[in-house]
């Protein structure tokens, strides 16, 4: 049956590809000319015919599907970038079902109905497998995208700022996981060497939650900075987080803490004997 389906697909590939390319869904995928869409459709139909001839209708690893993966991979990647879900992309590919089924029905019109039924069944199985291949391809290309974005996020999300002579600060925003804490620590220590910093302020105003792991990461960062000869000040602990830390029984007693970034800066300045006084304003001053 599978072989018969294969030769049918091969014979009618031109027709199938033409009709498939005409379905509204498919046209949105290939925004290029119709000829190119037809060519792409032909490539996919050819590949399906290969799979059918090999008889491995339900095998996702069948050699013919490699072409499909290649073709759909590119298309899925461009879809995923524009925010389509895998289900929507699968729907676009499902547009193939209609023309093939119609052609198949007309080809077997008047013949033995049991035989026609078997071929149709083979087609259903093949298209079901195609659906799986598409789903697999879209999901994996989506994962690649996510991994790349995560890496970019790690790189941009931890700037170390020189606030003053000898003082650097890291405003931490978002959840701190192990990977991010590692990058925070690395960039902070590098900045201490580079800016010859004596004080390092870790501002956690933008950190939504602190669990024991995050607290441990903070302690490690503070300890490493101290080994480099810099004192760490943690600022911006929110009331809820303070309560959590106390409830968890974490001892941050060895760490200098201040309410906000400004207080931490004031502390670091005062420790260095630097006083900031307002400039006398002409006329508006007291006296």
């Amino acid at each position: 049956m599978a072989q018969e389906l294969g030769s049918f697909l091969e014979r009618r590939r031109e027709q199938i590809a033409q009709r498939w390319a005409d379905t509204a869904l498919f046209r949105t995928v290939f925004t290029v000319s119709r000829d190119e869409a037809v060519d792409a459709c032909k490539a996919v139909v050819d590949a399906l015919a290969d799979v059918a001839r090999s008889g491995r209708l339900e095998d996702l690893r069948a050699p013919g599907f490699d072409t499909v993966r290649d073709q759909l991979g590119r298309m899925a990647a461009s879809r995923a970038k524009s925010g389509f879900t895998p289900a929507q992309i699968a729907g676009e590919v499902a547009g193939l079902r209609e023309p093939v089924a119609a052609l198949l029905r007309s080809a077997y019109e008047g013949t033995d109905s049991a035989h026609a039924h078997d071929v149709t069944l083979s087609l259903t199985v093949l298209l079901g497998t195609l659906r799986l291949v598409v789903m697999e391809t879209t999901v994996s290309s989506g994962e690649e995208l996510i991994a790349r974005q995560r890496q970019q996020l790690l790189e941009v999300a931890t700037p170390v700022i020189k606030l003053w002579e000898n003082i650097v600060a890291v405003p931490l925003i978002g959840t701190l996981d192990s990977a991010r804490s590692q990058i925070v620590m690395e960039s902070l220590l590098e900045a201490i060497v580079h800016e010859r910093a004596r004080y390092a302020i870790l501002d956690i105003t933008g950190v939504p939650t602190v669990d024991s792991l995050v607290a441990q990461h903070l302690m490690k960062t503070v300890a490493a900075a101290r080994l480099m000869g810099a004192e760490c000040v943690v600022s911006g602990i929110r009331p809820a987080i303070a309560q959590t830390i106390v409830h968890l029984g974490i001892d941050l007693g060895t760490i200098v803490t201040r309410a906000g970034l400004a207080d931490a800066l004031a502390y670091a300045l005062a420790e260095q004997g630097i006083a900031v006084s307002p400039r006398p304003v002409a006329g508006a001053s007291s006296r």
């Binding site: 690395e186 590098e190 201490i192 080994l227 480099m228």
Partner: protein, 139 residues
């Protein structure tokens, strides 16, 4: 009046800068060398012609600090304190600091500084033109 502790082969040189002992560690320190360094320093402190005002250990040339060396450094600081001398560890590299912290060796009780200049300032022997000495008290 100063050089390495005499006749000890390739032991780590202990230099005297005024009344401060400066030890510069380079490359990899073997366990035996680390132990002898500990011995050398304590004896230098005890027998120095002038009272020793502080010990600075410069490890900017050290790429690997293992748990043993970490402990030896802590012990040097502890014994120096018993001999009424402060010890400052200077110039630790970021990678070394991260490794030590991951090992759980935060070297409590050991003063640290970014480089030798800062370490001398921390001991109250600021080279000319350095930051004010009164600021060092809090660190």
């Amino acid at each position: 009046m100063t050089a390495a502790s005499a006749g000890q082969g390739d032991s780590v040189p202990v230099l005297a800068l005024g009344d401060v002992l400066l030890i510069t560690l380079r490359g990899e320190l073997h366990d035996g060398e680390a132990e002898r360094l500990q011995y050398d320093i304590t004896h230098r402190i005890a027998h120095n012609p002038v009272p020793v005002g502080g010990v600075v250990i410069d490890i900017s040339g050290v790429e690997i600090v293992d748990s043993f060396l970490g402990r030896v450094l802590s012990e040097i600081a502890a014994s120096a304190r018993l001999l009424a001398t402060g010890t400052v560890l200077a110039g630790m590299r970021p990678a070394v600091a991260m490794t030590l912290v991951e090992l759980g060796l935060t070297l409590p009780g050991l003063d640290t500084a970014l480089d030798v200049g800062r370490a001398l300032a921390l001991l109250g022997r600021a080279p000319s033109g350095s930051s004010p000495a009164h600021a060092e008290e809090g660190a």
